[in-house]
């Protein structure tokens, strides 16, 4: 039995917005794999909850009229992994969320919840950053779309305007991000399942037609700072460069200009820096291979 003050169950997006305006102090609960755990721990004990879990219109993956891949915020991780659109265009996202917690957590956990909790270790977040995802928010003023990097404000805080009754309704991957683009995600954990990332690294590349040059590279991290982040210095090293062993070295060392992991009992800064470089290298290498490139 949870120490919950009240539960409001939203039947539709519109209803959720109305409930949010009516109960601005209430916590939104999607799958609950974070919120309920925190409530059990006592951190969110005694709170009111607005459940959006039953809003089926917020589930599913489609390609919209602008050719964005549109992922309903309540789509569970396991459904993302199994989805044919994801498998075809951004398989790396399916692979990343297939490393969240455990099979049962992947059945309940949603991509919306994973991003709205604002934590840097979320397995979906680094990949969504690397694919320059757009976050769709729906409130009393209608729909607002913002780049995911602007969505994250600080650790645990995201740009959702409670005063407007906003809830996150979808995550979009623009065509410009996914077209002819291949990526790889490495989650660094202390064990191989039931794990929170010590560091997450997601890289994707688009190669030139002859597969010798990286036309466009994106790299993003989780747990390399207070919120998920890109590594722009490393990206600029790769962008337009010819594929080579030394590029892998230069690229991976360049991430050190961008990331700023902290010391915590979970891992030291030095350790995180060390594996961040190695993971960047391995992710880029694998991304190039997946894109059909060869490293000479």
């Amino acid at each position: 039995m949870y120490d919950m003050k009240a539960l409001y169950e939203a039947q539709s997006v519109e209803h959720a917005v109305a409930l949010r305006l009516e109960h601005p102090e209430a916590q939104i609960i999607a799958g609950g794999s974070d919120v309920l755990v925190q409530m059990r721990e006592g951190r969110r004990a005694g709170k009111e909850l607005i459940s959006i879990y039953m809003i089926d219109e917020m589930r599913g993956i489609t390609i919209d009229e602008d050719e964005n891949i549109r992922i309903g915020s309540l789509t569970s991780f396991s459904h993302i992994t199994r989805d044919p659109i994801i498998q075809k265009y951004i398989n790396v996202l399916g692979e990343a969320v297939d490393q969240v917690g455990s099979p049962q957590i992947r059945n309940i956990g949603t991509i919306g919840g994973n991003t709205c909790n604002g934590v840097t270790s979320a397995d979906s977040a680094s990949t969504l950053h690397a694919w320059e995802a757009i976050v769709e928010l729906t409130g009393k003023k209608g729909v607002r779309r913002i780049p995911i990097k602007d969505f994250y404000i600080k650790a645990g805080t995201v740009d959702i305007r409670v005063e407007d009754g906003e809830i996150q309704t979808a995550i979009l991957i623009p065509k410009v991000s996914y077209e002819s683009t291949y990526g790889h995600y490495i989650k660094y954990g202390m064990r191989n399942a039931m794990e929170i990332a010590s560091l997450g690294c997601s890289v994707n590349v688009r190669l030139s037609e002859d597969k010798r040059t990286i036309e466009r590279c994106r790299v993003a991290y989780g747990v390399a700072g207070p919120v998920p982040m890109r590594a722009p210095s490393a990206e600029s090293v790769a962008n337009g460069s010819t594929i080579s062993e030394s590029l892998l070295e230069d690229f991976s060392l360049a991430v050190l200009n961008d990331i700023n992991p902290r010391n915590s009992w979970r891992a030291s800064r030095d350790f995180r820096l060390h594996i961040a470089v190695e993971m960047a290298k391995r992710c880029l290498e694998e991304s190039i291979k997946r894109a059909g490139g060869v490293i000479e």
């Binding site: 949870y2 120490d3 539960l7 917690g101 099979p103 049962q104 957590i105 191989n192 399942a193 039931m194």
Partner: protein, 164 residues
């Protein structure tokens, strides 16, 4: 004031309804309202898998699933697996035969995940099976015989010779 709601669902093949405190987890509802005590509590925060049940065919940790979300759902617990006269299903028999059970506390959750895996009618590799079963912690078996039990049943169902 406590808040209550009538939750209608199908549990182990039977349509049922009960008035439930909205603060209840599905574990609370199944154990306390329906006396389905195969649903075990090992952590109550979704980390051990002992409370796992199938909801519309997918495995969920019922401890972090609100009881009110069960509305309209089909829920299967271990109690619903054996036949009407107590006949064991193949996977239950395999857990017994392969010595996959020791203290028995993780067993119900494991078997329910195994049901979801087997229902996929897919021949998984050992590595895939390990990943599919990784949402359950067990301290007695080292997982070894659980893998054997699931693998054996998977091969049997697919009509293939077992290759241990």
């Amino acid at each position: 004031m406590n808040q209550y709601k009538v939750v209608h669902c199908n549990i182990n093949g039977k349509d049922v309804e009960k008035v439930v405190d909205v603060r209840a987890s599905l574990t609370d509802m199944l154990r306390n309202e329906y006396h389905l005590t195969s649903v075990k509590k090992g952590c109550e925060v979704g980390e051990c898998g002992a409370c796992n049940v199938l909801i519309d065919g997918e495995a969920f940790n019922s401890c972090i699933y609100l009881a009110v979300w069960a509305e309209g759902k089909h829920i299967l617990t271990l109690e619903g697996l054996a036949g009407p006269n107590g006949e064991l299903s193949d996977i239950q028999q395999a857990f017994i035969d392969e010595t996959a059970i020791q203290c028995g506390f993780c067993t119900p959750g494991f078997i329910m995940t195994a049901v979801e895996i087997l229902n996929a009618n897919t021949l998984y590799t050992d590595e895939e099976l390990r990943k599919l079963l990784s949402g359950h912690l067990c301290r007695c078996t080292g997982y070894e015989n659980i893998l054997r039990a699931v693998k054996k049943t998977m091969y049997q169902r697919l009509g293939k010779p077992i290759d241990f």
